[in-house]
Symmetry: C2
Subunit: 299 residues, 2 copies
């Protein structure tokens, strides 16, 4: 039967909450600005309590949260937002606060891990067992699944900070990552594009050389992901990827960089189905949170 | 109880076969040159039949094989060596030939996937659930586990072909990979070192700048692996890594490149236990094959 879950997409600017069971059955949704933890969570609690009065009992709650955070059940940092610069939220025991209000199973993971799970459950990754979801926007982040499970390992992935070839002759821009300078995010996130070209990325014409360079960095990163994880599909979301002219450019460059080394028909013959936009679109975050809730309930 | 398994480490130059149950219980081992598939497999069959007469029934056979190959059960290429340049072995139905001789459960995977499984079962990865094993020698390859399972995805990983920053000012060497030029393997495998420096890597003195450069490329690749997969440990084997002076250099460079971005004590405080040599040493290949057999038997 269909259970009702609660989803919390916890972002640095706003929280999106929803109750429902899947993309076709969302009973209610609400947005709150991210202020202090206690104020923000009070708004979340009120919303869920109201929904329970109207629609019945919530069976589990999932949180898809900005990071870095502790996603590993049983580890000391589990359920905490750890080292964020965001005032009041560093070392905040998010899950502990939720548990004081609700006695329920909880899922707690990064926003991108939620998104990859949501796309796997209901979107562009349905039926696959290995998958990468990337968001390329204000920052660059990614979540991955292998053998039908989210990859955590030591902590959680930080794919945006991969080091890539950076030809200073072609692109003298030094990158904007405060930790790594010219890592992938430092070279290719939205703010990096804005700084390099002196105007916001979305105002650059579609035939501007900026997009060729951007597609190239994305392709280098995707090639590394193919070689390291061999995913069955790669989903590219985020603000920068709403520039849909990037998709064919990225695909072509990926094929050229791999140079037929990986003899997989999914890549060699079906690249348009291999590198794809998300199916869940703007709802990926909160649906990812609901997917985390469902996973926690069924565990 | 302890079962007896057969392991086949199938290399391009030689096959190593063994029967036993674990590193402390190997009853017999034999080596055969890799000639034609039929001749080589006849030698393998004779060895296993002889061992069964002496020690009793083999319960499963594992093959840790040179690639590329089909490691995904149920896929059309499963059990085949696919596109090797090695005469007679391209498109060879390895598992099909074994099945004509033995009615047993079989494991079939790449040599590096076997090695990571072996190290996870009995070696440097014991007790962990995510792990990367890399071999840096004639080529560079790697196998990975996440959530206690080998990562396959679309095909199998090809980590050695990752693209890394390559500063032509510091290192004008173009790389030797026939597919990608200056991918990781192209820049840093044993033959690349030999070509760059004009002498075999093992003849270079330990204080030669070659090792600083080599450690740097390895560190860039490891950083990408940490960011993409977040493994709990990275095991570095292969001929180049028998130059043990590389380990502290690689660890230092990894820390410097990550620049404290990943706030994991395993890296920040325990890097000597995070980047380690293999425990199983030269036996990693055949023990990996036995681990694949055990996994197939227990599946």
């Amino acid at each position: 039967m269909t259970e009702m879950y609660g989803g919390i997409e916890a972002g640095g600017t706003k929280f999106v909450c929803a109750v429902g069971s899947d993309p076709d059955n969302i009973f209610a949704e609400a947005r709150f600005p991210t202020t202090t933890p206690s104020e923000t969570l009070q708004a979340v609690f009120s919303f869920f309590r109201q929904q329970e009065r109207e629609h019945g009992k919530i069976k589990a709650i999932g949180v898809a949260c900005f990071g870095p955070l502790g996603p590993i059940p049983g580890s000391p940092a589990y359920g905490y937002i750890t080292s964020t610069p965001k005032q009041g939220w560093a070392n905040f025991n998010f899950l502990g606060s939720l548990r004081q209000e609700f006695e329920l199973p909880f899922g707690f993971d990064t926003d991108v891990d939620g998104a990859v799970l949501g796309e796997w459950r209901w979107g562009a990754g349905k039926g696959l067992d290995s998958l990468v979801y990337l968001t390329i926007g204000t920052g660059i982040g990614g979540g991955a699944m292998a053998n039908g499970q989210i990859i955590h390992g030591l902590l959680h992935t930080e794919m945006g900070h991969m080091r890539l070839p950076h030809d200073l002759q072609t692109d003298s821009f030094k990158g904007i990552c405060p930790y790594h300078g010219d890592c992938w995010e430092g070279l290719a996130c939205g703010p990096a594009m804005e700084k390099r070209w002196g105007q916001r990325a979305e105002t650059l014409p579609v035939d501007h050389p900026a997009w060729v360079l951007e597609a190239s960095y994305i392709a280098y990163a995707l090639v590394n992901l193919v070689l390291v994880m061999s995913p069955q599909r790669i989903i590219l979301g985020g603000g920068v990827m709403s520039q849909t002219q990037l998709f064919p450019m990225v695909r072509t460059k990926v094929l050229s960089l791999l140079n037929e080394y990986i003899k997989a028909p999914a890549i060699l013959q079906h690249i348009t189905e291999y590198i794809v936009p998300p199916d869940l679109g703007a709802r990926a975050g909160v649906l990812g949170a609901i997917a985390l809730a469902e996973q926690a309930y069924r565990a």
